[in-house]
Structures are given as structure tokens and as C-alpha cells.
Amino acid sequence: MTPRSKGRATKREPVLRDGPDLTGSDLEERLEKTWSRPRGFIGWLASVDHKEIGRRYIFTALGFLAAAGLLALHMRLQLMFPDNDILGPSAFNEAFTMHGTTMMFLFAVPVMQGVQIYLTPIMVGTRAMAFPRLTAFSYYMYLFGGLFLWAGHFLHFGPDNGWFNYVPLSGPQYGVGKRSDAWAQTITFTEVAALAVAVTLVATIFKQRAPGMTLARMPIFVWSTLVTSLMVVFSMPAIALVSGLLLSDRLVGTQFFNPVEHGDPLLYQHLFWFFGHPEVYIIFLPATGFVSEIVATFSRRTIFGYPIVVLSLVGTGILAFGLWVHHMFATGLPRVGYSFYTAASMAVSIPTGLQIFCWIATIWDGRPRLQVPMLYVIGFIVTFVIGGLSGIIIAAVPLDLQVHDTYFIVAHFHYVLIGGAVFPLLGAITYWYPKLTGRMMSERLGNISFWTIFLGFQLAFFPMHIAGLMGMPRRVYTYPAGMGLELPNMLSSIGSFVVALAVLMFVVNMAASFRRGERAGPDPWDAASLEWATASPPPWYNFAHIPAVESRAPLWDLKDDLPVVHGLRVDDRELLMTSVISASPDVREPSATPSIWPLISAIAVAVTFIGSVFSPWALVFGAAPVGIALTAWFWPKLPGPFAEPQIT
């Protein structure tokens, strides 16, 4: 520190920028110093690095996947035989509620967002997320929400009214105890987290793309991230509203959902599904983004029909908001009005059908390599299309009225969510694993686990279509013998254990390859997008020089001499902002440094949220610590004596 010099003139140390004079290992050393975080446990907690936060998201979500998967196995044991008594009714109801809530709110959405947080900055060619501290905060909110839910489960106040938690069953009169409150507040946690991530992703994509990466040159995965993040922004407030209204009905005696006091239980369902249907696409669209990236890389050609794929993503994102009533066909709303939602539900399969065409055309017109990520894409198409077609069946009112809330639906959405999202996710993990760890996953074990999960999945979930048509409703802890349900249930139970075995093999592969996998260079698959231009795993600062982009497949076109831009500060965290559409350089912007305050703020908010399950006063008393933590977080940095003058 140099003391402030007298007089008007301020002595200015030269600002260090990357450029022809500063490149190679000198530059990397400086950047490392600027962008690495403090060492030690506190430094670890204070990290705002998108790669670290993304990894934490992914690993935490996989942990919740395992927990919810164990519940599923437990349920399948109970349903293996008619009139079984491995799980009693209350334990079973709690199990399927925890399974659904965990899978939807703690696994599917966060794992997709985790991958998006990890990949988006390196795919668009920038050094950090737009609001790195907000990203850190969101992870802690998500983690605390998940831990709270599972603590409730183990301490016997876990929710047991289904992941939809309909009123009046969950209302003050019938939902006794704290179970529904635990559900509602978990939802609030995850909504806050998901909204925060969505906002940072949208800002990152709109303002931080590498120069030259116009909207029309963005990788498809980044497009899918943009669309899903905007969907999160528009749909999640509805569920935050639902959980808020439910809590206020339960805690302070409002009557939003009480029919006796002119409230309406159907209001709950409308709000829930206005969120709940887009939610499915919030999970599915990132998966289509994975598929587009994998298909292009392993077919050795750019995606066929790029504009069609992009418009399909956008179209799906918009149509997804017009379908929610198809979850409510049995509620007795005006019958003619249902036809609109039938038509809309049918229409949403058009963009997806076009995307499937584009993927197959890409394979057809390319030179496919059948490595593990590509196998998952094939498994995805073969499986997901069954789910999509059974979705068309249940879009028809007369058909839905029969199979609604039966195992046919259970089969349908597992085909869509496992076939449509988890298969691509496993493919994506295999595909980007070398980027995360610097090592390849075992191809042999990967092949075995792919075939095991693919076949096990069909065995577990195809018979559920039959069980549904044989009259088995959802959410029953037992079923009578003699209705023809024994065989399909037995097959499903066996299949579920095969799936569990396959997931276990996948995890073993991940763990073993971390130490012993073959070393991967920066670009082991010979792929086209920017994340493969940097080392594996990427350094703290992602890229020594910010790349400049001239096409949709920068690495294929200009692999050996990727153009770069110079002039970003390396002695302070600085990002290059570009314009929204054409990605021309706009301004330089400082980026936040690591800070412990997002964690402290998250703790303060968590205490408030959890306290409010037990007393509404928690909101009043919790406001002070939350306010203090947020103030500290946003405390403005005084411009130092060496602040750089604004250059226009």
C-alpha cells in the first residue's frame, strides 16, 4: 500500500493487462493469483468459483438422488407382493412423498442447474458467472433446504402428503403436525436457490459471451440453459406463492384454500401446476441440450437444423406454460375448456418431434462414433419417445380420465424423466467428466452400466403401463391379490433393483476413474465448443486470454489458432461484457471476490425459514440477522487510491 500522495495528482501503479507483452506462463501465474480463492476451510466455504459451486451442486444432487432412490427400492419391496407389510401405510406415504419431493426439487432441477453453472461460463468463454456471490448463496440455500427436509424425515416431521401436497389434506385441518410446513418451507428454500441461479445464468449468457459469439452462434446447450432459466424465472414464483399461501393458512389462520370461508382448494392446484408443468420442461430441456452437444461431437458434424432446434427449445418453453390444466382433467372444470388444453398438450410434442428429427438427421449425415455418451443418446431416444407418445395418449381427456392417477402415469413420467433427463444426464456426465477431472471414465464399465440401466429401466417401468391399465391407482401402499397386478409389480420390483445396480456401477466408475482414469487432454473427444479450448480441469480463470468466436464450431474451424482478445486486467478480477445480440465488446466489469457473507446470509435466511415453520414470529425476529448479513455482503468497496479512471 502506498500512502495517498498529496495534491491532485494520484500516483498510479500501472494496471496489468493481458496482451502480447503478457502471455504464457507469466500471465497464467498472475491470473492464478488473482482468481484463486484463499486456501483453507474458510476459503473453501467462501468460494465464488462457478466450477466449484457447480461441482458442489452436482455432487449434492447426486447424493439426494441416492437417498430418494433408496426410498424407491423400499417402496418396490413393499409392492413386490399383494397385501405385503414391509412398509406400513404411514411409512409408505412418507416414502413416496420424500421420493417425489427429493427427486423433483433436490435432484432433477439442481443437478441440471449445477451442470449449467459449471459449463455456461466456459462454454461462452468468460472467467466467472455474472453474480458469483449470488451463485454461492443459492448453493447454500439449496443445501440447507435439502438437509432440512431430510432432517424432518428422520425426526418424524417429514411430509407425507405427496410431492404436490394438495389442500385440504395438507391444510390446517387435515395436515396435522409440522409435516406440511416442512414441505412448504423446503419448497421455499429450493425456489430461492433456483431463482437465484436462473438470474445469474441469464445475465451470464446475455452479457458475458465471448466476442463474436452472437446469439446465432451460441452452443445449443447454452440456448437450452437460457430458455430453462427464463422458464424458472416465470414459473417458480407461482410455487413460491403456493407454499407461502399454504404456510399462512396453516400458521396465521388465513383461509386462501378453505372452501367454508370462500377459499378454494382448486386455486392451489392451478398455482401448483402452473409451476409444475413448466417444471417438467425445466428438467427436460437442459437434457435436450446435452443431447444436442453429444450428438454433434460424436457424429463429427454440427447439429443439423440449428435454427429449428433453437426455435424448438424456445417454442417448448412458451407452450409449456399453457398446459397445466391437463393435470386437472378430473376436477370437473368446464368440459369444453379442456379441449384447449388437450390441443396445447398435443402441440407441445411438435417441437420435440422436430428436435428428435434433427438429432437423427445429424447422426445420419455424420460419422457416428458409438462411445458411451452416444449410447446414452440412443437409449434416450428409444426410451423417451415412448414416454412422449404415452404423453399424447394422456393428453386426450377421455383417455386421461381413465388412466389419470394410475400407474400408467407413473410409467409415463418415469419414461419422460429418467429416459428423457437422467439418461442424457449420465451421458453428459461421461462426456464432461474429463473436463471436470482431467481423466476419462472407463469405457468398458461405462458400456456395462449403460446396458444394465437401459434394460433394467424397461423392466422396471414398462410393466407399470400394464399395472395402470389393470386398475392400479398411484400412491397406494398395497393392492389386493387377484386383480392381475402381481406379475407387473413383481417385474417392476426386480427391474428397480437392476437400475439401482447400474447406478451403483456408474458411481463406481466415476470414483475409480477419478484416480485411475486415462489422462484426458483439453479436448479428448475432439469437440467443437469453447469449453474444450481450455485445460482439463480448467484453471481458476478459465481462459488465459478470452477467446473470440467466428462460427458455431470454433474449435473445429480454428482449433490451432483460436483468436483471442487482449486487454483485460489480470491484477484484479475483471470480465469482458459484450452486447446481448451480436456479442460485440461492450464494457469491462469487475467481478466479485470470494466472500464468506453469502454463507452467513444463507444461514440467517435458513434460520428464519426453519423458525417460521414453528412460529410466524420467526419472520419478524429473523429479519434483523438477514438484514445485517446482506448489508455486510453488499458493503460497497471503497474505490482505492489506484482506481482506474473510466475510459470511454
Binding site: 401405510p89 394438495y166 387435515y174 454440427t302 458409438l370 377421455p398 383417455l399 386398475g471 398411484r474
Partner: protein
């Protein structure tokens, strides 16, 4: 119809043949027949589309000769025929979806039109976890009150008016028609037109709490004469006890806990919380399908309902053996 369609149909027929009392493939009601027709239509169209997709994928992967002929580089133009195929595919999807939407719409309209002329009304009130059933008549004294067992005359359009006393339930007798939710604060309805006599099973289809799985409904579709006989029998007041044991049961029932929840027509027992027991012994099941009606099950149920259907609203009272014996004897008298 394609060969595939035939296979699908025979598969469905097999399902229908080996299926039974609770399936939308039972073809026992007017709505259900239209369900099967529409379902098969959808299944055929979807199967064709699926085969197209999987066939194209297999073709793309089998297209290995291109491995040798394709030029190096990653930017080759797509073949023009693929672009034409895309237009064809889009047209095919749109045409298929429009066709299916229209088929669905007209099936739905036809059902709604047919439902205009119900010949009698049954009122069903759902409770956690049983069904209260009232055959309403203009003369209130002629109304029939029963529970968990619905009788319908074959070939007669019935309107079922649905209400709920507590949470949301869903009325579903798949052999006859689709579902209809029962929502507190609203009255909904569903029309049933059974076309085949037989015994069917319905079940609550909206999660409604701990015993959602054991909230079933027996549905007997019978000839008009048999139905009228049943109605007449149900309309009678309860049989009076005849043996000393039955009499002891009657006294216990009408003066102790039982009558605060249950009613038996023609006796002082007039509780309104639990199922009406006037003709309980004539029913096929105990506790909304939880147990088949039998002497042993009745003993088990009255002695300890909580172990038979955990969490249900009937408390375990702890009857002395002689009381239990008497109450069961009296209940069995209530044919």
C-alpha cells in the same frame, strides 16, 4: 388396420380377457367402450410413429458406409433429401396430432351428449376412507342410505352426484367410466351407463391420506328386477334382534360408543360420522373393501379396527369377549 395394429388389438383383448373387476379395458360401460376404441386408435398411431423414429435411428446408425465416403471436415452440407424429409416429418406429426385431437374431441362430446338424460340420481359423499351412498327420491322417507356398495341397473343411465366431507377424493369405477374428483365445497357429477351385468370394483384415485389404498367401492350391476328387489330390501328398516345374544348386541350398540358414529334405521342408533349399518351384513366387504365380509373378519374388525386398517377413524374400543360376541351377532343379523 396394419399388422402391428392387429397385434396391439389382440394384446389388448388378451388384457381385457384376463382382467377383471377394476380395469378400463373391461368394456362394461358406455364410456368405457368409447375409451377402448379411442385408446386403440391412439395406440396404433403412436406405435406407427414410434417405429418410424426407431427405424430412422437404426438407419442412421447402420449408415456405416458413409464412414468411408464422407469427406473430412465437419461442415458438409446436409443432403437435400434430409431437408425434404424434415418437412414431411413435420407434416406427418401435425397431421397425426390433429387427427388424434379431433378423435379425442368427438369422443368427449359424444359422452357429454349422451349424459344429458339420466334416469335416476345417486348421491355419493366421500369421507376419509369410505363412501356414503344415498339413493335420493322425491319422497325423502323413501331414500336409501348405504355405504361402500353401489348397485346399478344395467342399461339405465345414472347420474352420480359427488361431494366430499373432508379432503379431495376421486370417484373411479374403471369398468364403467373415467374419474371424477370429489372436492370439498363443490358438487361434481358423473354419468354412468353400465352395459354389462357383473360385480366391479371402484377405488379412490386421488391421494386422500393414510388409508387411501383401502378406500374401495363394490359396484354391482344387475338386471332391473334384481336392482328393484335390492332397493326394496335396503329401504326396509333394520331387522330386529331375535336371539338373546343379538339382543345383547343391539343393547350394546344402541347405548354405547357404536351409535355415536353409526346409524341403523329403525333403532335409536343415529350417529352420522361413520357408515350407515342398517343392512351391513348384506354388503360384500367391510371397511370400504379392506376386508371381505365374513364372520371372522367382522370379529376382527369390531375387536380391533386399527390393526385391520391402520389409521382409520374407528377407534379400538376394547370390547369384552361377551360384548364382542353379542355385537357381531347383532351386526350379522342386519342383512
Amino acid at each position: 388396420m396394419t399388422r402391428r395394429g392387429l397385434i396391439v388389438c389382440s394384446f389388448l383383448l388378451c388384457l381385457a380377457a384376463c382382467s377383471g373387476i377394476q380395469t378400463p379395458l373391461g368394456n362394461s360401460g358406455a364410456d368405457d367402450s368409447s375409451f377402448i376404441r379411442l385408446f386403440v386408435t391412439f395406440l396404433v398411431v403412436c406405435t406407427v410413429m414410434y417405429l418410424l423414429v426407431v427405424g430412422a435411428l437404426a438407419g442412421a446408425l447402420a449408415n456405416r458406409r458413409r464412414l468411408l465416403t464422407v469427406e473430412e471436415g465437419t461442415h458438409h452440407e446436409s443432403s437435400p433429401w434430409i431437408r425434404r424429409a424434415l418437412i414431411g416429418w413435420a407434416a406427418l406429426i401435425v397431421a397425426g396430432l390433429v387427427g388424434l385431437t379431433i378423435a379425442s374431441f368427438f369422443t368427449d362430446r359424444a359422452a357429454a351428449k349422451r349424459a344429458m338424460r339420466p334416469q335416476f340420481t345417486v348421491k355419493i359423499i366421500a369421507n376419509q376412507w369410505w363412501w356414503d351412498i344415498i339413493y335420493t327420491t322425491p319422497d325423502v322417507s323413501q331414500a336409501v342410505h348405504t355405504a361402500n356398495e353401489l348397485h346399478l341397473p344395467v342399461g339405465v343411465e345414472a347420474e352420480v352426484s359427488l361431494e366430499s366431507n373432508d379432503v379431495i377424493h376421486s370417484f373411479w369405477v374403471p369398468n364403467l367410466a373415467g374419474k371424477q374428483d370429489l372436492i370439498p365445497g363443490r358438487t361434481t357429477d358423473i354419468q354412468l351407463l353400465p352395459t354389462k351385468t357383473g360385480l366391479y370394483r371402484g377405488q379412490c384415485a386421488e391421494f386422500c391420506g393414510i388409508q387411501h389404498a383401502n378406500m374401495a367401492l363394490a359396484v354391482q350391476v344387475e338386471s332391473r328386477e334384481a336392482f328393484l328387489r335390492w332397493i326394496a330390501q335396503q329401504r326396509r328398516a333394520a331387522f330386529a334382534p331375535t336371539t338373546p345374544t343379538e339382543l345383547a348386541g343391539y343393547h350394546y350398540f344402541t347405548t354405547h360408543e357404536c351409535s355415536s358414529c353409526h346409524s341403523i334405521a329403525g333403532t335409536p342408533a343415529n350417529g352420522q360420522v361413520g357408515p350407515d349399518l342398517t343392512h351391513v351384513a348384506s354388503r360384500r366387504t367391510i371397511a370400504a373393501g379392506a376386508l371381505p365380509m365374513s364372520s371372522g373378519n367382522l370379529y376382527g374388525w369390531v375387536a380391533d379396527p386399527q390393526s385391520q386398517k391402520p389409521g382409520n377413524k374407528m377407534p379400538t374400543i376394547g370390547l369384552a369377549p361377551n360384548e364382542l360376541h353379542a355385537v357381531v351377532a347383532y351386526l350379522q343379523r342386519l342383512k
